[in-house]
């Protein structure tokens, strides 16, 4: 539990859009200076709204896209410096489950083809009985092996996506909003499945989501991103948030209890364009506590000894009895 399996240091990614049709060239930082240790057996949740860079971060961690700055260490090896050929053996140990169970499966592949492909890519033989075993692991009937994806429901497709990710017995799974396109009842099934697999196979997860309620239930620690930067890291998901943005995210999730109905103070203001960020704190345009300092100087992410980290000029005082010394 103590060894970091994945270590990110100063990880950044800039996207450049060239000039076209009279529009000048412009660039945006999709992920800015993210440092993170993912311990063996941990489940790290990354939350934020659309466009905050959480999916870009997921792709950077697996080096599906190249960073423009910083490093990713996987089990001690700097994978950002490896050639594609040297990466290949390491790739067996990491896998990804995608958000959309429709577009992430080839409609012309039978289910058995979907599960054999990881072996084919790695040039490995498919162990006898492995396909049946994988289907059983995710709660699909082995009789389905000859079916095509269009014969499956959304929940079954996502189970297949998980089985494919598990094919080569990886240590580390990146889950990019695996339940966002599913019904709540199916979402709960998939989360229960992921919990069981985590315990049975000793997996480490990076779980990307926009649902803070779900992340607080499922994850061992939470990273909150806003417009490419980490604004808060909660080492314990049960701790009250201190960043105004995290608080707003929490306020926004509806509790299934009409007695807990509340008048929301929804975030006013729009998210600034990532191509044209304000000079200070990126959240200042929507923050109820923003001052001139926030609008002119960006706060830095400061960690305390308990593993909590916060990037805010005016955080509320921690509640009495909180973990912060």
């Amino acid at each position: 539990m103590a060894e970091p399996l994945v270590t990110l240091r100063g990880l950044s990614r800039r996207f450049d859009t060239p000039a076209a049709f009279g529009r000048p060239a412009r660039s945006m930082m999709a992920v800015r200076d993210v440092s993170l240790d993912i311990l063996c057996g941990a489940t790290i949740g990354v939350v934020g709204e659309s466009g905050c860079g959480k999916s870009t971060l997921a792709r950077l961690v697996l080096r599906l896209i190249e960073p423009t700055g910083g490093t990713v260490h996987f089990d001690g090896a700097d994978i950002t410096a490896l050639s594609a050929r040297a990466m290949r053996p390491l790739r067996q140990r990491m896998a990804m489950v995608f958000q959309d169970p429709y577009s992430s499966l080839d409609p012309r592949f039978r289910i058995s083809d979907v599960l054999e492909e990881p072996f084919r890519v790695q040039g490995l033989p498919v162990p006898p009985g492995r396909i049946t075993e994988l289907l059983g692991l995710v709660g699909l009937s082995p009789a389905m092996a000859g079916n095509y994806p269009h014969q499956l429901s959304g929940g079954q497709r996502q189970r297949l996506g998980i089985a494919r990710a598990l094919a080569l017995s990886p240590d580390f799974l990146v889950l990019d909003e695996p339940t966002a396109s599913l019904d709540v009842s199916i979402q709960a099934q998939i989360i229960a499945l992921l919990e069981r697999l985590r315990a049975e196979l000793g997996l480490t997860y990076l779980f990307i989501s926009h649902d803070l309620g779900l992340v607080r239930y499922f994850c061992s620690s939470i990273v909150v991103m806003y417009l490419g930067s980490v604004v808060e890291v909660l080492a314990d998901p049960a701790l009250p948030p201190r960043h105004p943005y995290t608080s707003a995210l929490m306020e926004s999730s509806f509790i299934p209890d009409p007695a807990a109905r509340r008048l929301l103070a929804p975030l006013t203001g729009e998210i600034p364009s990532p191509y044209n960020l304000p000079p200070g704190c990126a959240f200042a345009t929507r923050c109820p506590a923003a001052t001139d300092l926030c609008r002119h100087t960006a706060p830095t992410l400061i960690s305390d000894t308990g593993g909590h980290a916060l990037a805010c000029h005016h955080p509320p005082e921690p509640a009495a009895g909180g973990a912060t010394p």
């Binding site: 709204e49 659309s50 429901s153 959304g154 929940g155 079954q156 019904d183 709540v184 009842s185 199916i186 979402q187 709960a188 099934q189 998939i190 989360i191 229960a192 919990e195 926009h210 649902d211 803070l212 309620g213 779900l214 607080r216 239930y217 499922f218 707003a248 995210l249 306020e251 926004s252 999730s253 509806f254 509790i255 299934p256 209890d257 009409p258 007695a259 807990a260 109905r261 008048l263 929301l264 929804p266 975030l267 006013t268 203001g269 729009e270 998210i271």
Partner: protein, 315 residues
Amino acid sequence: MLLEVENLSVTIGQISPLEGVGFSLDRGEILGLVGESGSGKSLTALAVTGLLPLIDGRVTAGHVRFAGRDLAALPPCALRALRGKRIGLVTQNPMTAMDPVQRIGAQVDVMSRLHLGLSAAAARARTLELLTRLRIPEAAAVCDAYPHQLSGGMKQRIVIAMALAAEPELIVADEPTTALDVTVQAQIIQLLGEEVKRRGLGLLLITHDMGVVAQVCDRVAVLYAGRIAELGPVGGIFARPAHPYTRALIDCIPREGTAPGSLTGIPGAVPSVTTYPLGCRFHPRCPRARPICSATVPPLLNGHACHNPLEGADG
């Protein structure tokens, strides 16, 4: 009563995806219609807006009465006069609800020009007022923009403005926030609730999220596989659900104090319309199923359709 749906059954070709669905909705009231995908929620929305012919659907039994008039008995031209004018529709995907090559302002203006007979200038003034009410910053600039220039949350607010523009009496909102971020979802749900209460409209809110229902609805109808499973005021249904399906839907959402590993979801999936089981359609997934559940259809009595309701439930 603004909207009365009585014993409504709908067929499309050989299949009957809705059977004996009934609920009512009064002015100033928000009714949540919940259920998983495939339970018939959107089909109910089509029936209520008289749009079933679009998908070759037919009402085979029962009625949809809007302000006392049976929609099924109205000729298409009379229906067209109702839709948009007296019944507004907010769809799930704001991108497909708008014309991508028309400016926002024109698309909202046309509603009050067509249905209220306003002049171009008066319609634009009304549009600006509506957009401002829906807390759209720089409404005048937004009117000149095209849909692709706006974020998803802004587009959904425009679609709501279009639905409100002709001062309808009933709004049918089919999963209006499913495609949006949670922060934006909270804004939109709150705005929609405020406008409905302020104008005294009826709102039929279709969703699969019990959290949304708990936050804004007055009453809730739980739909499962084309039939009503439970129906009643939100307070009672959340405090003491009678139908095991309602209980399971509520328990699908993790909340403060949900113990790790205790989230299980509902086993199995909604049966497809061609494979509906006999008896109670939920019985293959139900932890409380008895032999009678697979034999006899439970009638909707005291707000629930269950042979073996949960203890402590109302009446």
